[in-house]
Symmetry: D2
């Protein structure tokens, strides 16, 4: 076991993977002008464990060996709490931009363990052995992980078998003695351009007849016939003063194509057991939304903090309506944080793994997601129209303009024009840019959309007990 | 020390107190047609400790003596959690109608302890001795408590001294060697008709010049010249089938008049120390809003439970919009519960007393309060117009009408007309009656209104830290 | 033709109708302690035309004859506008409590005209003749009308034919040469206790196989075997000072039972034409929701006005949050009023009848309905907890209490205790009483619930045009 | 009089104006890579009058002369309605991107007329003459206009005279016989880079002592010592397929610096009359918010249309929650449109000028603005995460990727991958890009922020009448 360094991580990405950006094959992701930003940002996950400030949080020592805490299988609420704190710390260091290079993958590994236990109980012990070996392989080599889950889906009202063509969900097209051949594509695959391993999950529950689609497996990202077509969203070059976050922070997503890819048996974790596709997806998301709220916390801190700072700079922090709006931001953050901590404390232990309270996690995630745009509106309101009408960073230094800027764009006494503009640039970057749009869409869709979260809440809430109470009071 | 029985409690109320109802002096509150309902309801607080199902939750054993857990000074988060559970249990037994016969008073006692410690630190040890003696007196005699806090206030934009006349806030009009004479009136005094002791608090912070108003004291409710003018709201006789809650449940509020009442020194807990009026009010409310959310939980259970049960009865529980609405009720309840538990766990210890996390408590309380009307709307929506157009309870039995009712008002197969009507009566009682209005107004105003809660959140949230984070990211 | 007086109207109700209240047959609705309040309130519709202040608005002169404007078939937007203003004026005189004694019935007559025209176009001219004759009968005798539409429905997820028993929707059980026999029951029938004529409509669209349920007809309210079982909601005696609206205002609803009632052919307006049940229901509601918003306007005025008046009385009208809340009430009212006026101006003419713009009407109605509880919350917030804790009206005069009340419950300088209490009583009556609950449930359910309104908006909005615009901009 | 062509307009911009972009002087705005986009977009205002489809709407004939309808002083509700329809038509042609090249300026001219009439009534007729001459100059030469109003403000809690330095509001620094010298800067000046004339207004009411700040004037945009420092927001080059709107549409804003600029008397419209600064600002905004809602209509159409189209493409348009969300978009649009039409019809005539109903306009504007982010959230929700994870436009054609895209990213049968991607690109451009952020910030801040709109509503609503009604019902 070992903790890799950031350079080892980056070096490991020069492995011949097939990444395409704007129609072109990418020769080396670590030097590509866009993807390299994502690589550098993701490298935070290898830097924190080396940083004395974070070492005790980020590193686990077990039997004389060390590994990254994100790989630690949580055994109780405290483990979950520390995992959550580590995720928040990483993201905080990453300017509230998602990092997630091991988070999502380890959640997938936790879910694989749970379902493999289930399958072992149904007479299929081989999956558990494979999962445990694969887990140790990833953990002991300190690998970076990506998860491909969301199928392209075609007509979203139809299941896999009812689509116009059979490849709208990833499926097994051939069973061989030594493994399987898979075909199809996944969307929204985060981190695939710059992780080491790709884990693949079914996107939803499957029904009898869907056997070919009820598959889960893993592979290195340089596997032949695996194609990663990257999204260009938010990839235009950005001025680092005007875009203090997004000029230096990036996460890549791909359309991930399995063009008849071979997967050896050792890396197949589900193979036609239709009843277990749903549990795999669900168990994953039970961890994934806990992570989601954890990594959103620095963003919520930033909204409240930027709102407060710009209100101060603008000289409006004494106004009643301003306090009211700041209080809304504070409450928004506090609800997410409070429910998250409670979800860890109220965990259940399943197959020895601590699972955060599913109801609380979904409520916290939905609360975050559904109110995000309103929080953005508040911060934009406090900041003012200069968010989209302010002069350029160059105007701060150009001989022709700098005196005007410095003279006219100061704020409240004590806040000079540059300070105020930098705050405005920060808020503009967060809320009124490509990156702002990215965060809005993430709020709505990442880790499952509103309807998925509501369905989960509906299922987890104990309506039976409260309905019995109501009926008793009604005298029936 | 001893636990009183319900009859001992009721007997203790025949003490000559001056209660007025609709302009008439009440001879005996335990037999008055309205107030007796409140007495019976409040007696729950004496019944639960005697009930084996609740004894371990409701009773504390200490040094071989027993007393009601509500009197237990919380020392850690677990104590707070148990206190909260007891409050919820009492209210659940009370059909989600507030009981509160010891809750509010003990919160006041906790706050008095804290401020008396503060005062002792400033060279005034006498208050702490008085508070401790008074606390033991109440606890050891298992007394029922009422708190008078909200002054009548006159022009609410003005402080005590700036009013049209000086009695709009309760004040000391005479200092004597053995005690003080107080004058003024308090509104919204809950439980005063049927408690044993009345504790009096200032309603707000005081400023130099307000010395006469910066007072706190206690007295038995039969003290001469103390007048209790009861509110008639919701006191019309009600059919117990049509009003399954409010026909049998009641809490009384009074205008509480101190018509130059003498208070012996032993019962004076603040006497002109203007700087301590605010802390007393604030510390009280830190406990009081924790209690507030605790006693609201059964109401939130009932909203979700009644919504679910009537949706089932009406045959609409499969509709997407119905699930969506039920999920909103579930989330509403879950947020309150989750934040409450987290507030207990995240308590601070001050002078040896565990205080629930003030930020979380205020967020939880505000979340409950601000969304209550919307939750009511959802339940009314699910139930249907019969809430206010249904036939009478008598129509279920009258020979002239019963066959029509039974034939036409059934619901989904398996739900007969009487079952459905009883559910509708329950929801109508909860949401479309005098009592429904009472709950709405309580949500808005009890334990402090929206603006008070928002102010507290604003003050407690750590804007400094998050603003520093924003400024750092902005590069300033 | 003639305009009846209020006494003529009242006299006409002594006609032997079968009304039941709390299981008892009512001998005379004009003297029954509860129903008489509804009779007196409804009589406003006969008083306004006699009142010089309202005569020109309330009375139409045509060919030397006069009749009530509510009977006027609207021919253009101005007619709709005046009809709306008359409805608002009547309700305003009625303390914002719904009156509706001719409104609903005339809307039904307008819809009957439209569908009868449609049926005439399909070769069934007899219905149009009957409708026209019946319309003139009602108009020329200035009759009071009630409409029975909502079936009892049983399992609301099932249609008429799929229910546990066949009588969950009103149906024809026998066809005779001179008429039909009908059986079943309707809920929520407003005004039936004190109108002259009952018009019966199907509640929803019908499908082939539902012929027996696709019926519409009318009858006098004293028709044999017609039974009216009144709801007791809000019928407890009320102090007129504490309940300045509901002590004197009332509308009755009944469960309306057709216990094999004979209807002569002349009064049958639909008889098995399943394709026309839906259009009848829909066309009715196109007028009915226009009326709905019209009669809600005084209520919205009252919410804003009471909010303002009590904020003044409490001395808080200068606070920023108070202005914010008052502004919300103002906007709430203004949106309803503005959309209503626009809906009249944007009417369509169908069969010579002006129909208010259906999309705008539904948006206006939904906007009113969905935000009502929030408006109530605001007014309760502005008023304070005295809404449910204030002393009684008797306390204002009782020798034992009046001095305390007058001294302590005054408001801002210039507002004495009685004035303030009367405002509080008004708001308590409007928002925190049986009547307050009635208004909330009406907001949610009267004139169709939220889902019905949303469905109508969805259908009426021109998605095709805007989608074409989007596709054009997308380049497809 | 004449209508200029688009080329004449563009030619007129080569006039030596001082525009700075990213610290550099711009040689020619019509060829500058960013500003030329804004020029081409704004040229729409010269193209529509030449287009037979729009000529009758866009051109007014008066006494044998023609001019652009935007210059027409509205005399009644119909004029306002046509103005509104023209503004919507221009914006619709402009892909829902604001054009506004004459709208804002003519509103300013209307307000100048009104205040000049007022001033004439106070014995200062010279302003009216100047305004009328200037109006004819602009109209008859078909000039493009820009308005500079918002001062830089410094500490926004302080008035002009209380700031850290005196130039935080534009002021007169010298009075000369032939004119005045002005100094200061304005922010958010739209269209200044590519209009002909700049009109300058005070940003707020002024008080005695603020005389130097109570000034209004106009000048050509190439006036010496006038400096325009453009904002770079949203100016990165964009792929026209991925950004179908913003790649071809642009509006420029500047920090507009008056570096001791001379204004001849003829162009001075207010000069120290402090009481008239407020009325000028207010009267302007009464028109400006009417324009605001008018030009937002195509955007609201586009949100609803794009939401519908992508729901269809994704195969989810049959789901209940999808219909619910689409209905919200429909209602959102309908409320804005309905209130706008009603505001025109309910106009008042002041000094012969038709002014849209101020209350309705503010309610409509606030309703639009406050709910914009929620509408964005809905459209993002319907579209899916591909908004920010979709492949690039080049991937549609690159040999390496196109087959994968076409095979995997199709939608519902009948929607191929390119159609679906183009819809997603459209929605991403509208809601998840720099331009999406621009629209959000415009919603919040353009034409005055939330608090300004609320204040206006509060002032315009007739609380007196409704409070009187409440008091009457309360019996006081």
């Amino acid at each position: 076991m070992a903790l890799r360094t950031a350079s080892e991580y980056k070096e490991s990405l020069r492995d011949g993977r097939s990444v395409f950006f704007r129609g072109q094959k990418v020769a080396d992701v670590t030097t590509h002008p866009v993807i390299r930003i994502a690589v550098e940002h993701a490298a935070l996950e290898y830097m924190l464990p080396q940083d004395p400030r974070f070492r005790s949080l980020a590193v686990v020592e077990e039997n004389g060996e060390v590994y990254n805490r994100l790989y630690q299988i949580p055994r109780d609420g405290d483990d979950l709490r520390r995992r959550s704190e580590l995720i928040a710390a990483i993201t905080r260091e990453g300017a509230a931009y998602p990092v997630l290079l091991k988070e999502i993958g380890t959640e997938a590994l936790f879910a694989l363990h749970m379902v493999a236990h289930l399958l072992a109980g149904r007479g299929k012990p081989q999956y558990l052995e494979r999962v445990e070996r694969y887990y140790r392989h990833c953990r002991d080599n300190d690998l970076a992980l990506s998860l491909a889950q969301t199928d392209v889906k075609g007509d979203r009202s139809l299941g896999p078998g009812a689509q116009e063509h059979p490849d709208y969900y990833v499926r097994k097209v051939e069973e061989r003695s030594d493994g399987i051949i898979v075909r199809g594509a996944k969307v929204h695959t985060s981190l695939s351009t710059n992780a080491n391993e790709l884990i693949v999950f079914p996107t939803r529950l499957m029904r009898p007849g869907d056997e070919a689609y009820a598959i889960s497996f893993a592979m290195p990202l340089n596997t032949p016939r695996l194609k990663l077509i990257a999204s260009p969203h938010g990839s235009d070059p950005k001025d680092p003063i005007e875009h203090p976050i997004s000029a230096r922070r990036k996460m890549m997503e791909t359309l991930t194509v399995f063009d008849d890819v071979f997967v050896p048996n050792e890396r197949v974790f589900l193979n036609g057991e239709v009843d277990f596709a749903g549990p795999l997806a669900i168990n994953f998301v039970r961890f994934h939304r806990f992570t989601a709220v954890s990594y959103k916390l620095p963003l919520l801190e930033l909204l409240a903090g930027a709102g407060w700072a710009i209100a101060e700079a603008n000289g409006i922090s004494g106004a009643g309506h301003v306090r009211d709006k700041l209080t809304q931001l504070a409450a928004y953050h506090t609800i997410a944080l409070g429910l998250l901590h409670r979800a860890a404390a109220a965990c259940t232990i399943e197959y020895g793994i601590a699972v955060p309270n599913t109801l609380l996690v979904n409520v916290a995630k939905y609360h975050f997601a559904h109110n995000y745009h309103q929080a953005v509106q508040i911060v934009q309101d406090l900041a003012g129209g200069l968010l989209v009408t302010a002069p350029a960073a160059e105007d701060l230094t150009s001989e022709a303009t700098r005196e005007y800027i410095r003279r006219f764009l100061g704020g409240r006494k004590g806040t000079d024009a540059e300070q105020r503009l930098r705050l405005l640039y920060l808020i503009s970057d967060m809320t009124a840019s490509d990156y702002g749009g990215y965060q809005e869409v993430l709020a709505v869709h990442a880790e499952g959309g509103f309807e998925a979260e509501k369905l989960q809440m509906y299922r987890e809430y104990d309506f039976g007990t409260v309905a019995a109470y109501a009926r008793k009071l009604a005298g029936i």
